[in-house]
Symmetry: none
Subunit: 254 residues, 2 copies
């Protein structure tokens, strides 16, 4: 689906960066890479950093100007780490990503995402071709991201938006009753080995309830813990004879 | 604020990647970089990719093992691009980032974010030190991110989460090393009662690590659980004779 998204690198200096961009594109399901200017697409370090994304380098197209590189695009989105008069409408990647995705879905034209040169970023002249502008939030002491890192963050947001996946429920909890049965076995077994005070077994059990309550137990967790405390009970009910005997015979326990 | 977040690179191969990680850290306001193994921190390409973040390279510390690199940390978060039995509990960066931020805010200990070697990522052996696990969603045709890109995406999410106010989390975590000692006692005692398979004790222990990792253990929780598994060990080392005898005499155990 993100094949309709084009990454445009304007005057990239480091060829390793071009390779890293290609890899980030393939990680996110993109194909269409455009280079404005003289970037060394086919250098050793570009290929090395691309790893399994060399086909994207091979398919990359070169343009003399940004205008030409985005000529057939329905939407052009720029990126900047600087602020200023022409950049005050800039938005977070998270705000822009869903709009990019819905444009890709509804429009047959390519959408372009444009990144400037490593040293100065997009010029005001380049910005005028961009309908929207993205700024990645950073520590203000050092706001300039490596260009391939900036591409990765933008593609990560767009990829997530394209999945439209809402965060999963962290866990699916076991029903309260099966937890209570776990605590019944726990109480019985820990009394037998003398860990709980028979006058007040609930005191320590409460602390364990608190820990397991924070964890939130799924069915499979309850299953494992049931097994553990059943084994303690089995052992204290005479299982120790079996294990001692096997140990004496040098056999593997269980 | 994110100064309490440590980036741990396990056996990094590319020194340029180490420099890119340092830059991403400075972009996000981090300082604390730890390298497990022989990564070339001070090479030309590490310094070149770090650009203005060379002080982070200079301050980086080297450790022989992951266990040592995270020994003083209250929370250890791993990253993986693979799926599998030991990785199924992995979450999106967006789900985990707010939890990391609230832990940093409420706990004086460092939080570690751990990244594996470029070629294979974190091993199952390394994963057992990680209480939580993050997977960055990608195109399934090429799921392996460049390590510095993966660091950037995680730090981007954590940086964004740090800009928001979040409710205080009510626990102060025990250091990783005391959790490891708890697991040492747990392994020993559960082998003795035959609950763990002596051929592969780690399999079930990993499930228990996951449960307790979600819970987040405080010192007092570790104390209680140490007591529980020490009691199991005591019992299997002959304590059963004492309790059986007392039971026969109708006495209260302990």
């Amino acid at each position: 689906m993100l094949k309709n998204l084009r990454i445009v690198l304007v005057q990239p200096k480091g060829s390793g960066n071009i390779g890293s961009v290609a890899r980030a594109m393939m990680n996110s399901g993109l194909k269409d890479l455009a280079i404005v200017g003289e970037g060394r697409i086919h250098s050793f370090s570009a290929r090395a950093m691309a790893v399994h994304a060399r086909e994207i380098l091979q398919g990359a197209r070169r343009f003399d100007t940004l205008r030409e590189a985005v000529a057939d695009c329905g939407l052009v989105v720029g990126t900047t780490c600087r602020s200023g008069l022409y950049r005050s409408h800039s938005r977070l990647p998270r705000e822009v990503a869903p709009k990019i995705v819905s444009t890709i879905r509804t429009d047959s034209r390519q959408v372009a995402l444009v990144f400037g040169p490593e040293d100065h970023g997009l010029s005001n002249r380049d910005l005028k071709y961009c309908q929207w502008l993205i700024t990645i939030p950073t520590n203000q002491d050092y706001a300039s991201l490596n260009v391939a890192q900036a591409v990765m963050v933008c593609l990560y947001e767009i990829f997530l938006a394209s999945l439209k996946r809402s965060p999963r429920e962290a866990i699916s909890r076991a029903p309260a009753e099966s937890i209570e049965r776990l605590f019944d076995i726990m109480r019985r077994s820990l009394l037998k080995i003398g860990f709980l005070d028979s006058q007040n077994p609930e005191h320590i059990l409460l602390a364990i309830r608190r820990i397991l309550g924070r964890a939130g137990l799924e069915e499979k967790d309850v299953h494992i813990l049931n097994g553990l405390f059943r084994q303690i009970e089995w052992y204290s009910d005479g299982g120790w004879r079996v294990t001692q005997e096997k140990e004496r015979q040098g056999l593997k326990i269980r």
